[in-house]
Symmetry: C2
Subunit: 183 residues, 2 copies
Protein backbone atom coordinates (compact mmCIF):
# COMPACT_ATOMS: atom_id res chain seq x y z
CA UNK A 1 0.00 0.00 0.00
CA UNK A 2 1.32 3.44 -0.85
CA UNK A 3 0.74 6.47 1.32
CA UNK A 4 -1.53 9.02 -0.31
CA UNK A 5 0.31 12.21 -1.24
CA UNK A 6 -1.83 15.19 -2.19
CA UNK A 7 -1.36 15.99 -5.88
CA UNK A 8 -2.42 19.61 -5.34
CA UNK A 9 0.83 20.31 -3.48
CA UNK A 10 3.26 22.72 -5.15
CA UNK A 11 6.44 21.01 -6.33
CA UNK A 12 8.48 22.75 -3.64
CA UNK A 13 6.16 21.44 -0.99
CA UNK A 14 6.38 18.04 -2.68
CA UNK A 15 10.15 18.09 -2.45
CA UNK A 16 9.97 19.07 1.20
CA UNK A 17 7.45 16.30 1.75
CA UNK A 18 9.77 13.93 -0.10
CA UNK A 19 12.68 14.86 2.11
CA UNK A 20 10.40 14.70 5.12
CA UNK A 21 9.34 11.19 4.08
CA UNK A 22 12.97 10.10 3.78
CA UNK A 23 13.61 11.62 7.20
CA UNK A 24 10.51 9.95 8.66
CA UNK A 25 11.53 6.65 7.08
CA UNK A 26 14.96 7.01 8.69
CA UNK A 27 13.37 7.84 12.03
CA UNK A 28 11.11 4.80 11.61
CA UNK A 29 14.04 2.51 10.74
CA UNK A 30 16.04 3.90 13.66
CA UNK A 31 13.15 3.40 16.05
CA UNK A 32 12.55 -0.13 14.73
CA UNK A 33 16.25 -0.87 15.26
CA UNK A 34 16.08 0.63 18.74
CA UNK A 35 13.01 -1.48 19.41
CA UNK A 36 14.65 -4.74 18.33
CA UNK A 37 17.63 -3.88 20.52
CA UNK A 38 15.26 -3.41 23.42
CA UNK A 39 13.57 -6.70 22.54
CA UNK A 40 16.94 -8.39 22.75
CA UNK A 41 17.54 -6.84 26.19
CA UNK A 42 13.99 -7.95 27.05
CA UNK A 43 11.27 -7.17 29.48
CA UNK A 44 10.50 -3.57 28.61
CA UNK A 45 6.76 -3.07 29.21
CA UNK A 46 4.91 -2.99 25.93
CA UNK A 47 1.59 -1.19 25.61
CA UNK A 48 -0.97 -3.77 24.48
CA UNK A 49 -1.96 -3.17 20.84
CA UNK A 50 -5.58 -2.13 20.42
CA UNK A 51 -7.96 -3.07 17.62
CA UNK A 52 -8.95 0.60 17.32
CA UNK A 53 -5.34 1.68 16.59
CA UNK A 54 -6.39 5.17 17.66
CA UNK A 55 -9.40 5.57 15.31
CA UNK A 56 -11.81 5.53 18.26
CA UNK A 57 -10.98 3.58 21.42
CA UNK A 58 -14.63 3.70 22.48
CA UNK A 59 -15.85 2.08 19.28
CA UNK A 60 -16.23 -1.65 18.73
CA UNK A 61 -13.92 -2.87 15.96
CA UNK A 62 -14.00 -6.09 13.98
CA UNK A 63 -10.63 -7.83 13.69
CA UNK A 64 -10.81 -9.25 10.18
CA UNK A 65 -12.75 -8.62 6.95
CA UNK A 66 -14.49 -12.01 7.28
CA UNK A 67 -15.63 -11.11 10.79
CA UNK A 68 -16.76 -7.65 9.69
CA UNK A 69 -18.79 -9.05 6.77
CA UNK A 70 -20.40 -11.56 9.12
CA UNK A 71 -21.47 -8.80 11.51
CA UNK A 72 -22.63 -6.51 8.69
CA UNK A 73 -24.89 -9.22 7.34
CA UNK A 74 -26.16 -10.54 10.65
CA UNK A 75 -26.78 -7.11 12.23
CA UNK A 76 -27.95 -5.52 8.97
CA UNK A 77 -25.54 -2.61 9.29
CA UNK A 78 -23.23 -1.10 6.68
CA UNK A 79 -19.53 -1.82 7.05
CA UNK A 80 -16.92 0.94 7.01
CA UNK A 81 -13.40 -0.21 6.11
CA UNK A 82 -10.50 2.16 6.80
CA UNK A 83 -7.16 1.34 5.19
CA UNK A 84 -4.22 3.15 6.78
CA UNK A 85 -0.57 2.86 7.79
CA UNK A 86 1.14 3.82 11.03
CA UNK A 87 4.05 5.47 9.22
CA UNK A 88 1.93 7.46 6.74
CA UNK A 89 1.51 11.11 7.86
CA UNK A 90 -1.72 11.44 5.82
CA UNK A 91 -3.20 8.42 7.59
CA UNK A 92 -2.17 9.86 10.94
CA UNK A 93 -3.73 13.25 10.18
CA UNK A 94 -6.99 11.67 9.02
CA UNK A 95 -7.06 9.41 12.08
CA UNK A 96 -6.73 12.41 14.39
CA UNK A 97 -9.59 14.23 12.68
CA UNK A 98 -11.71 11.06 12.61
CA UNK A 99 -11.16 10.26 16.29
CA UNK A 100 -12.00 13.75 17.53
CA UNK A 101 -15.09 14.29 15.36
CA UNK A 102 -17.93 13.55 17.79
CA UNK A 103 -20.61 13.23 15.11
CA UNK A 104 -18.52 10.76 13.11
CA UNK A 105 -17.77 8.76 16.25
CA UNK A 106 -21.49 8.71 17.13
CA UNK A 107 -22.56 7.67 13.63
CA UNK A 108 -19.84 5.00 13.57
CA UNK A 109 -20.87 3.66 16.97
CA UNK A 110 -24.57 3.53 16.30
CA UNK A 111 -24.90 2.62 12.66
CA UNK A 112 -21.76 0.89 11.38
CA UNK A 113 -19.71 -2.26 11.62
CA UNK A 114 -16.14 -0.97 11.80
CA UNK A 115 -12.85 -2.32 10.54
CA UNK A 116 -9.46 -0.68 10.21
CA UNK A 117 -6.70 -2.50 8.35
CA UNK A 118 -2.97 -1.96 7.83
CA UNK A 119 -2.86 -4.84 5.31
CA UNK A 120 -4.83 -5.33 2.14
CA UNK A 121 -7.38 -8.10 1.85
CA UNK A 122 -7.69 -10.37 -1.18
CA UNK A 123 -11.04 -8.77 -2.15
CA UNK A 124 -10.29 -6.63 -5.20
CA UNK A 125 -13.59 -4.77 -4.78
CA UNK A 126 -11.95 -3.05 -1.81
CA UNK A 127 -9.43 -1.33 -4.08
CA UNK A 128 -11.48 -0.04 -7.03
CA UNK A 129 -8.76 2.50 -7.97
CA UNK A 130 -5.63 1.22 -6.22
CA UNK A 131 -4.19 0.19 -2.87
CA UNK A 132 -3.28 3.60 -1.48
CA UNK A 133 -3.79 4.85 2.09
CA UNK A 134 -5.66 6.43 3.71
CA UNK A 135 -8.74 5.05 1.98
CA UNK A 136 -12.29 4.51 3.23
CA UNK A 137 -14.74 2.08 1.61
CA UNK A 138 -18.30 1.30 2.58
CA UNK A 139 -19.88 -2.13 2.17
CA UNK A 140 -23.66 -2.55 2.07
CA UNK A 141 -25.18 -5.28 4.31
CA UNK A 142 -26.05 -7.00 0.99
CA UNK A 143 -22.24 -7.50 0.71
CA UNK A 144 -21.85 -4.97 -2.11
CA UNK A 145 -18.90 -2.58 -1.94
CA UNK A 146 -20.31 0.93 -2.33
CA UNK A 147 -17.91 2.18 -5.00
CA UNK A 148 -20.43 5.00 -5.57
CA UNK A 149 -19.62 6.58 -2.19
CA UNK A 150 -16.34 8.45 -2.65
CA UNK A 151 -14.31 11.39 -1.38
CA UNK A 152 -13.48 14.67 -3.16
CA UNK A 153 -10.32 13.59 -5.03
CA UNK A 154 -10.78 12.28 -8.57
CA UNK A 155 -7.33 10.65 -8.73
CA UNK A 156 -7.76 8.77 -5.43
CA UNK A 157 -11.49 8.41 -5.11
CA UNK A 158 -11.67 6.92 -1.62
CA UNK A 159 -9.12 9.16 0.10
CA UNK A 160 -10.08 11.83 2.62
CA UNK A 161 -8.15 14.69 4.22
CA UNK A 162 -8.80 16.11 7.71
CA UNK A 163 -10.65 19.00 6.03
CA UNK A 164 -13.13 16.56 4.43
CA UNK A 165 -14.92 15.47 7.60
CA UNK A 166 -18.20 17.04 6.53
CA UNK A 167 -18.18 15.04 3.29
CA UNK A 168 -17.26 11.91 5.22
CA UNK A 169 -20.23 12.47 7.55
CA UNK A 170 -22.51 12.91 4.53
CA UNK A 171 -21.08 9.74 2.99
CA UNK A 172 -21.74 7.84 6.20
CA UNK A 173 -25.35 9.05 6.03
CA UNK A 174 -25.54 7.84 2.42
CA UNK A 175 -24.12 4.43 3.39
CA UNK A 176 -26.92 4.12 5.97
CA UNK A 177 -29.41 4.08 3.08
CA UNK A 178 -29.13 0.53 1.84
CA UNK A 179 -29.01 -0.51 -1.77
CA UNK A 180 -32.17 -2.06 -3.12
CA UNK A 181 -30.88 -5.45 -4.14
CA UNK A 182 -32.37 -8.81 -4.96
CA UNK A 183 -30.90 -10.25 -1.75
CA UNK B 1 -16.84 -22.80 15.18
CA UNK B 2 -17.88 -25.17 17.91
CA UNK B 3 -16.41 -25.12 21.36
CA UNK B 4 -14.30 -28.20 22.06
CA UNK B 5 -15.89 -30.44 24.70
CA UNK B 6 -13.67 -33.13 26.19
CA UNK B 7 -14.97 -36.54 25.11
CA UNK B 8 -13.37 -38.20 28.14
CA UNK B 9 -15.85 -36.51 30.45
CA UNK B 10 -18.29 -38.79 32.26
CA UNK B 11 -21.84 -38.35 31.04
CA UNK B 12 -22.86 -36.74 34.33
CA UNK B 13 -20.10 -34.20 33.96
CA UNK B 14 -21.18 -33.73 30.37
CA UNK B 15 -24.72 -32.99 31.44
CA UNK B 16 -23.44 -30.52 34.02
CA UNK B 17 -21.22 -28.96 31.38
CA UNK B 18 -24.21 -28.88 29.05
CA UNK B 19 -26.31 -27.09 31.61
CA UNK B 20 -23.34 -24.86 32.41
CA UNK B 21 -23.03 -23.99 28.71
CA UNK B 22 -26.71 -23.13 28.54
CA UNK B 23 -26.27 -21.03 31.66
CA UNK B 24 -23.15 -19.36 30.23
CA UNK B 25 -24.96 -18.74 26.97
CA UNK B 26 -27.79 -17.11 28.89
CA UNK B 27 -25.31 -15.01 30.86
CA UNK B 28 -23.65 -14.05 27.59
CA UNK B 29 -26.98 -13.12 25.98
CA UNK B 30 -28.00 -11.18 29.08
CA UNK B 31 -24.68 -9.33 29.18
CA UNK B 32 -24.93 -8.57 25.45
CA UNK B 33 -28.44 -7.24 26.01
CA UNK B 34 -27.25 -5.22 28.99
CA UNK B 35 -24.44 -3.91 26.83
CA UNK B 36 -26.74 -2.80 24.02
CA UNK B 37 -28.97 -1.13 26.57
CA UNK B 38 -25.95 0.72 27.90
CA UNK B 39 -25.00 1.60 24.33
CA UNK B 40 -28.41 3.15 23.89
CA UNK B 41 -27.97 5.16 27.10
CA UNK B 42 -24.47 5.99 25.81
CA UNK B 43 -21.17 7.13 27.10
CA UNK B 44 -20.24 4.30 29.44
CA UNK B 45 -16.45 3.94 29.23
CA UNK B 46 -15.54 0.90 27.16
CA UNK B 47 -12.20 -0.81 27.67
CA UNK B 48 -10.37 -0.67 24.32
CA UNK B 49 -10.25 -4.13 22.71
CA UNK B 50 -6.73 -5.55 22.46
CA UNK B 51 -5.27 -7.66 19.68
CA UNK B 52 -3.91 -10.06 22.30
CA UNK B 53 -7.41 -10.74 23.70
CA UNK B 54 -5.69 -11.92 26.89
CA UNK B 55 -3.32 -14.49 25.30
CA UNK B 56 -0.29 -12.37 26.19
CA UNK B 57 -0.56 -8.59 26.39
CA UNK B 58 3.24 -8.27 26.13
CA UNK B 59 3.41 -10.20 22.86
CA UNK B 60 3.13 -8.65 19.41
CA UNK B 61 0.07 -9.95 17.55
CA UNK B 62 -0.77 -9.82 13.87
CA UNK B 63 -4.31 -8.64 13.11
CA UNK B 64 -5.18 -10.79 10.10
CA UNK B 65 -4.04 -14.06 8.52
CA UNK B 66 -2.73 -12.18 5.46
CA UNK B 67 -0.64 -9.92 7.70
CA UNK B 68 0.63 -12.88 9.73
CA UNK B 69 1.68 -14.80 6.59
CA UNK B 70 3.47 -11.71 5.33
CA UNK B 71 5.45 -11.40 8.57
CA UNK B 72 6.18 -15.14 8.74
CA UNK B 73 7.65 -15.07 5.25
CA UNK B 74 9.52 -11.81 5.55
CA UNK B 75 10.96 -12.49 9.02
CA UNK B 76 11.47 -16.21 8.39
CA UNK B 77 9.61 -17.20 11.54
CA UNK B 78 6.95 -19.86 12.02
CA UNK B 79 3.38 -18.64 12.52
CA UNK B 80 1.23 -19.83 15.42
CA UNK B 81 -2.52 -19.47 14.87
CA UNK B 82 -4.82 -19.79 17.88
CA UNK B 83 -8.54 -20.20 17.19
CA UNK B 84 -10.72 -19.50 20.22
CA UNK B 85 -14.01 -18.02 21.38
CA UNK B 86 -14.73 -15.65 24.24
CA UNK B 87 -17.76 -17.64 25.38
CA UNK B 88 -16.08 -21.06 25.25
CA UNK B 89 -14.93 -22.21 28.72
CA UNK B 90 -12.28 -24.51 27.17
CA UNK B 91 -10.83 -21.59 25.22
CA UNK B 92 -10.79 -19.48 28.36
CA UNK B 93 -9.04 -22.18 30.39
CA UNK B 94 -6.40 -22.71 27.71
CA UNK B 95 -5.87 -18.94 27.40
CA UNK B 96 -5.23 -18.65 31.13
CA UNK B 97 -2.66 -21.48 31.07
CA UNK B 98 -1.05 -20.07 27.90
CA UNK B 99 -0.79 -16.52 29.24
CA UNK B 100 0.77 -17.52 32.56
CA UNK B 101 3.29 -20.03 31.14
CA UNK B 102 6.51 -18.01 31.08
CA UNK B 103 8.39 -20.40 28.80
CA UNK B 104 5.55 -20.42 26.25
CA UNK B 105 5.36 -16.63 26.37
CA UNK B 106 9.14 -16.38 25.88
CA UNK B 107 9.17 -18.85 22.97
CA UNK B 108 6.19 -17.06 21.40
CA UNK B 109 7.84 -13.66 21.78
CA UNK B 110 11.22 -14.65 20.42
CA UNK B 111 10.50 -17.20 17.73
CA UNK B 112 6.96 -16.87 16.42
CA UNK B 113 4.63 -14.66 14.45
CA UNK B 114 1.42 -14.72 16.47
CA UNK B 115 -2.23 -14.57 15.51
CA UNK B 116 -5.35 -15.29 17.52
CA UNK B 117 -8.69 -15.43 15.75
CA UNK B 118 -12.32 -15.66 16.83
CA UNK B 119 -13.44 -16.15 13.21
CA UNK B 120 -12.38 -18.75 10.70
CA UNK B 121 -10.36 -17.81 7.64
CA UNK B 122 -11.12 -19.12 4.16
CA UNK B 123 -7.93 -21.25 4.16
CA UNK B 124 -9.13 -24.84 4.55
CA UNK B 125 -5.61 -25.96 5.50
CA UNK B 126 -6.23 -24.25 8.83
CA UNK B 127 -8.99 -26.71 9.71
CA UNK B 128 -7.58 -30.15 8.79
CA UNK B 129 -10.09 -31.94 11.06
CA UNK B 130 -12.82 -29.36 11.67
CA UNK B 131 -13.52 -25.82 12.86
CA UNK B 132 -13.60 -26.44 16.63
CA UNK B 133 -12.08 -24.24 19.32
CA UNK B 134 -9.67 -24.03 21.01
CA UNK B 135 -7.32 -25.11 18.23
CA UNK B 136 -3.68 -24.27 17.55
CA UNK B 137 -2.05 -24.61 14.15
CA UNK B 138 1.52 -23.87 13.12
CA UNK B 139 2.48 -22.55 9.70
CA UNK B 140 6.03 -22.91 8.38
CA UNK B 141 7.69 -19.79 6.88
CA UNK B 142 7.49 -21.71 3.58
CA UNK B 143 3.69 -21.13 3.95
CA UNK B 144 2.96 -24.80 4.69
CA UNK B 145 0.46 -25.55 7.46
CA UNK B 146 2.19 -28.02 9.83
CA UNK B 147 -0.63 -30.57 10.08
CA UNK B 148 2.02 -32.94 11.51
CA UNK B 149 2.27 -30.90 14.74
CA UNK B 150 -0.73 -31.86 16.83
CA UNK B 151 -1.99 -32.15 20.40
CA UNK B 152 -2.79 -35.30 22.41
CA UNK B 153 -6.42 -35.83 21.33
CA UNK B 154 -7.03 -38.07 18.34
CA UNK B 155 -10.60 -36.83 17.76
CA UNK B 156 -9.61 -33.13 17.77
CA UNK B 157 -6.00 -33.20 16.74
CA UNK B 158 -5.17 -29.52 17.24
CA UNK B 159 -6.89 -28.98 20.59
CA UNK B 160 -5.00 -28.51 23.85
CA UNK B 161 -6.09 -28.48 27.48
CA UNK B 162 -4.41 -26.48 30.28
CA UNK B 163 -2.66 -29.71 31.36
CA UNK B 164 -1.00 -30.02 27.92
CA UNK B 165 1.35 -27.05 28.21
CA UNK B 166 4.44 -29.26 28.15
CA UNK B 167 3.35 -30.83 24.85
CA UNK B 168 2.54 -27.39 23.48
CA UNK B 169 6.05 -26.17 24.42
CA UNK B 170 7.55 -29.22 22.67
CA UNK B 171 5.38 -28.56 19.62
CA UNK B 172 6.57 -24.97 19.53
CA UNK B 173 10.16 -26.27 19.57
CA UNK B 174 9.27 -28.60 16.68
CA UNK B 175 7.71 -25.75 14.70
CA UNK B 176 10.99 -23.84 15.09
CA UNK B 177 12.67 -26.54 12.98
CA UNK B 178 11.64 -25.57 9.49
CA UNK B 179 10.49 -27.96 6.82
CA UNK B 180 13.02 -28.64 4.11
CA UNK B 181 11.13 -27.39 1.10
CA UNK B 182 11.97 -26.38 -2.43
CA UNK B 183 11.19 -22.76 -1.57
Amino acid sequence: MTCFVLYSFQSQKKMFKGLLSVFLALVAVTSIMAKSEKTAVKQEKRVPQTLSRGWGDQLIWAQTYEEALFWARSRNKPLMVIFHLDDCPHSQALKKAFAKDKEIQRLADEHFILLNLVYETTDKHLFPDGQYVPRILFVDPSMTVRADISGPYSNRKYAYEPSDMKLLRNNMERAKTFLKTEL
